[in-house]
C-alpha cells in the first residue's frame, strides 16, 4: 500500500499533554507563516485543541497530524470524544450552541477557525459521511448532484451528469443504480444509502473526507465493500475515519489515534499501535480488556 512508498516523516507520539507540548516546542510555530506545512505530508494539523460542551470538557489538548492521502483511524471507547473531534475538523460543532472550541486546527496553511474562514468553503474542502446513512429524500441523481450544484462546480447539464456518474462509479454504486437514478435515495438499502452518501460527499471533490462510523449500521458484506471503497478513495483523498471495530481500523488505516476520556492517548502507525502499543490503556483497549 501507499504507506510503504511514502517517506516516514517525524514520528509524532503523544503520550500525555506533557510530551505533546514538548513536540510542539521542537517545531517552531511555522504553520502560520510558512506556506508549506512543517510536517511533510500533513494535510491537517491539530494543536492543543480543547472542546467544551457547556462546562463539560469533551476533549483535552489534542495534538494530531493528518497526512495527505492516508487513512487515519480514530478509535476509543464510547463517549471518549471521537465524534466531537471529527466534527471540529469541519466545524460541524458550530451549530451546537453550547459547544466551545479552542486551539489550532490547520487545513494546509488555512486556520480552520480563522476569522475570515467561510464554513461553506471549508466544508466544500472537507466532506463528511455520517454514522447513519442520511440521503436526502430526493432522487439518487439529485443527491449526488446537490453539492456540485450549490458550489457552482458545473456549467452544463452534461458536466453534471458526468460528475454524478463518476462519483457513483467511485463509490461503487453505479452498477446497482444505473437504471434507477431518478428513484428516491431513501428507497435504497442501508449499505447502498451509505455508499450514496459517500458518492454525494466525493462529488464535491473535497480534499479531506471525514467518516463517523460509516459501517456501524451495515452487515459484514456491505462493510467489506465500504472498506474496499475507502481503500480506493485514499489514493485521491485524505480520510479520517471513526470506527469501533479494531479489525476495521487495522484493515483500512495507515495511522491510528486512540482516544480515552477526551485525551489522545496514543497516535502512530497502525501497525505499531496494534502490535506494540506504547500505552497500557491502548493495550487494554485493543485486546478488549476495557472499552
Amino acid at each position: 500500500m501507499k504507506t510503504a512508498l511514502k517517506p516516514k516523516p517525524i514520528r509524532v507520539t503523544v503520550r500525555n499533554t506533557q510530551s505533546s507540548s514538548s513536540v510542539q516546542a521542537m517545531k517552531p510555530a511555522a504553520d502560520k507563516n510558512a506556506p508549506a506545512p512543517t510536517l511533510e505530508g500533513a494535510k491537517m494539523n491539530i494543536e492543543k485543541v480543547n472542546v467544551f460542551y457547556g462546562d463539560n470538557q469533551a476533549l483535552t489538548d489534542i495534538d494530531l497530524q493528518i497526512r495527505v492521502n492516508e487513512v487515519t483511524a480514530l478509535i476509543g471507547p464510547s463517549g471518549c470524544g471521537k465524534s466531537t473531534f471529527l466534527r471540529c475538523l469541519n466545524r460541524m460543532n458550530d451549530t451546537i450552541e453550547e459547544c466551545r472550541v479552542s486551539g489550532l486546527v490547520m487545513l494546509d496553511d488555512m486556520d480552520v477557525y480563522g476569522p475570515d474562514v467561510d464554513v461553506v468553503h471549508l466544508r466544500a474542502r472537507i466532506g463528511m459521511v455520517f454514522q447513519k446513512p442520511n440521503p436526502f429524500p430526493k432522487s439518487i441523481y439529485e443527491n449526488v448532484a446537490y453539492g456540485p450544484r450549490i458550489h457552482g462546480l458545473v456549467s452544463s447539464r452534461a458536466d453534471l451528469d458526468d460528475i454524478v456518474m463518476t462519483s457513483l462509479t467511485k463509490a461503487g454504486l453505479i452498477k446497482e443504480v444505473r437504471d434507477r437514478l431518478h428513484e428516491s435515495g431513501t428507497s435504497l438499502s442501508g449499505g447502498q444509502q451509505q455508499r450514496l452518501c459517500i458518492a454525494r460527499a466525493i462529488a464535491v471533490n473535497p480534499e479531506v473526507i471525514l467518516m463517523d462510523e460509516p459501517c456501524s449500521a451495515l452487515d459484514p458484506i456491505a462493510t467489506a465493500r465500504i472498506e474496499e471503497l475507502i481503500d480506493e478513495l485514499s489514493q485521491n483523498f485524505t480520510i479520517v475515519i471513526v470506527t469501533h471495530s479494531m479489525q476495521q481500523a487495522a484493515r483500512v488505516s495507515q495511522r491510528t489515534a486512540f482516544f480515552h476520556l477526551g485525551e489522545l492517548v496514543e497516535f502512530g502507525d497502525t501497525e505499531q499501535v496494534f502490535t506494540s502499543p506504547r500505552d497500557e490503556r491502548t493495550q487494554g483497549y485493543i485486546t478488549g480488556r476495557f472499552g
Partner: protein
C-alpha cells in the same frame, strides 16, 4: 432444578397470570371509555349537523308560480322613448298585479284583489325588470313566466306553517289556500332550486336574500388574511426555528407568540378598530381591514404550526446538507422547508378555516352592516359568511330561520372542504425517513 426453586417459579408465573387478568380488564375498560367518548362526540355532531341540515335544506329551494305576463308598452314605455333608463323606472309591480288579476279573473272584491298580491314575492318586479333590461324586444309581448312566490306561500308549501292552524294564527288566509290549491291543481306552482340564494346579496325580503355577497366578502377577506399571514408567519417561524441564536430575546418572543394564539378573537377586533380604523383611517366594513385583523389572529397559529413542522424534519437532513457546504439559507430552502411544507400548509389551512368561521373581530370593524351589493373590491363594504349567519339569525321573519340554517350549511361545507384539503395534504405528502 431443585424442588423449591420449581415451586417458587410456579408461584411466580401464577402471580403474573393473576395480574394478567387485572391488566386485561383494565385494558377492556379503557377501550370502552374511549369508544363511548367517541360515540358521544359523534352523536352530538350528528344531532347538530342533522338539525342544521333539516332546517336549512329548504332554504336552497323556493316555490314559483307561473303567470302569463303582459309586458304592456303602456306601462313600461308609454312615450315610446326606447330608453333603457325609462324601462328601469317602469312600474313592474303593476305588471305583476295585472298578471295576477288576469290569472284569477273571478276575484273582483277590492279586499280580495289586495290579498292576491300576497301570493307573489315583492322581488318579482325586479325579476321582470331584469328580463326587459336583457331583452327589450319582450316589450309588447305576452309571456308565460315562473315568478318567485312570497315567503308566506313558500313557508306554507314547505309545511313550516301548518294548514291546521286557525286562520287568525297564520299570515296565509283561507282565501290564499284556495288559490294555492287551484294553482297546484293546474300545475302552475312548483318547487325549484333557489338560484337567487347563490347569486344575490342580502335583502330585506327573505325570498330575495342570497349568500353570494357574504361568500365574496369572505373570499376577499381570507385572501388578504392569507397573503399577509402566510409569508409573515412562515418567515418568522423559519427565523426563530432555524436561524436565530437562542437568546433570552427569542425565548421572550416565543412565549409571546404562544400567548397571542390564546388571545380571544374579539380582542383582535378591538385592536383592528383602534389601529386600522381610528388611527390609520382605513375604510370601515372593508374586507381589507377584516383580512388584516384576521391575519393578526391567524399569524400565531401559522407560526406555531410551521415551527412544529420544521422541528419534525430530522436533524440528519440538516447535517447532511450542512456537511456538503450548504449555507444556512440553502439548508432551509432546499431541504427543510420542502419537507416541512405539507405540515405548514396543513397548519395554514386550519388557521384559515378558523379565520373563515370567525365573526367576533369582524363585528368590531363594522363588517356587520346590511349590505345588498356584491363587494367588487377589497375596500367595498362587505360582510362575511359567519356574520351573515349572525345577521339572519337576528331577523324576525319566519323565512330567515331557514336562510340562517342554509347559510350555516354553506359555511360548514366550506370548512369541511378546507379541513379535508388539510387531511389530504397530510396524507399525500407524509414522508418516512
Amino acid at each position: 432444578m431443585t424442588d423449591s426453586s420449581k415451586s417458587k417459579s410456579m408461584s411466580h408465573s401464577d402471580r403474573i397470570a393473576a395480574s394478567l387478568k387485572r391488566r386485561h380488564a383494565a385494558e377492556t375498560r379503557f377501550r370502552l371509555y374511549g369508544i363511548s367518548a367517541i360515540a358521544i362526540a359523534l352523536i352530538f355532531l350528528v344531532i347538530m349537523l342533522g338539525s342544521i341540515f333539516i332546517r336549512g335544506w329548504g332554504g336552497f329551494f323556493e316555490t314559483q308560480i307561473e303567470l302569463t305576463v303582459d309586458f304592456s308598452r303602456q306601462i313600461i314605455d308609454p312615450e315610446g322613448t326606447n330608453d333603457p333608463a325609462v324601462f328601469a323606472r317602469a312600474d313592474f309591480r303593476k305588471i305583476v298585479r295585472n298578471a295576477l288579476k288576469a290569472r284569477f279573473p273571478d276575484v273582483t272584491k277590492r279586499k280580495d284583489v289586495k290579498a292576491l298580491k300576497a301570493l307573489i314575492s315583492k322581488a318579482a318586479g325586479y325579476e321582470l325588470s331584469h328580463l326587459i333590461r336583457d331583452d327589450p324586444a319582450l316589450i309588447g309581448t305576452t309571456q308565460n313566466i315562473w315568478l318567485p312566490s312570497s315567503d308566506e306561500v313558500d313557508n306554507f308549501m314547505k309545511g313550516s306553517v301548518s294548514r291546521d292552524l286557525p286562520e287568525s294564527a297564520r299570515r296565509i288566509k283561507d282565501i290564499h289556500v284556495g288559490w294555492i290549491e287551484e294553482l297546484e291543481a293546474e300545475g302552475a306552482l312548483k318547487s325549484t332550486l333557489n338560484l337567487r340564494f347563490f347569486t344575490h346579496g342580502d335583502s330585506r325580503e327573505p325570498e330575495n336574500a342570497g349568500i353570494w355577497g357574504a361568500i365574496v366578502g369572505s373570499t376577499l377577506t381570507l385572501f388578504i388574511t392569507l397573503i399577509l399571514s402566510f409569508p409573515l408567519g412562515v418567515m418568522a417561524a423559519i427565523y426563530l426555528e432555524e436561524l436565530s441564536p437562542k437568546t433570552r430575546w427569542t425565548d421572550f418572543i416565543e412565549v409571546n407568540i404562544n400567548n397571542m394564539a390564546a388571545v380571544p378573537s374579539i380582542i383582535y377586533g378591538l385592536l383592528g378598530l383602534a389601529v386600522f380604523l381610528n388611527f390609520m383611517h382605513l375604510p370601515r366594513s372593508a374586507p381589507l381591514v377584516g383580512g388584516m385583523v384576521l391575519a393578526l389572529m391567524t399569524l400565531p397559529t401559522i407560526i406555531i404550526a410551521t415551527r412544529a413542522s420544521l422541528k419534525a424534519v430530522p436533524p440528519s437532513i440538516r447535517e447532511a446538507a450542512r456537511g456538503l457546504g450548504a449555507s444556512p439559507i440553502q439548508v432551509v430552502l432546499h431541504h427543510v422547508l420542502p419537507l416541512a411544507m405539507p405540515g405548514i400548509l396543513t397548519g395554514t389551512i386550519i388557521g384559515m378555516a378558523r379565520a373563515l368561521g370567525e365573526s367576533a373581530p369582524l363585528l368590531m370593524i363594522g363588517m356587520v352592516a346590511f349590505i345588498v351589493d356584491i363587494p367588487q373590491s377589497f375596500t367595498d363594504p362587505a360582510t362575511a359568511l359567519p356574520v351573515q349567519v349572525y345577521l339572519w339569525a337576528d331577523s324576525p321573519e319566519r323565512a330567515f330561520v331557514e336562510k340562517t340554517a342554509a347559510a350555516t350549511i354553506v359555511l360548514v361545507a366550506f370548512l369541511v372542504v378546507m379541513n379535508a384539503m388539510a387531511v389530504y395534504l397530510r396524507k399525500r405528502f407524509e414522508r418516512r425517513w
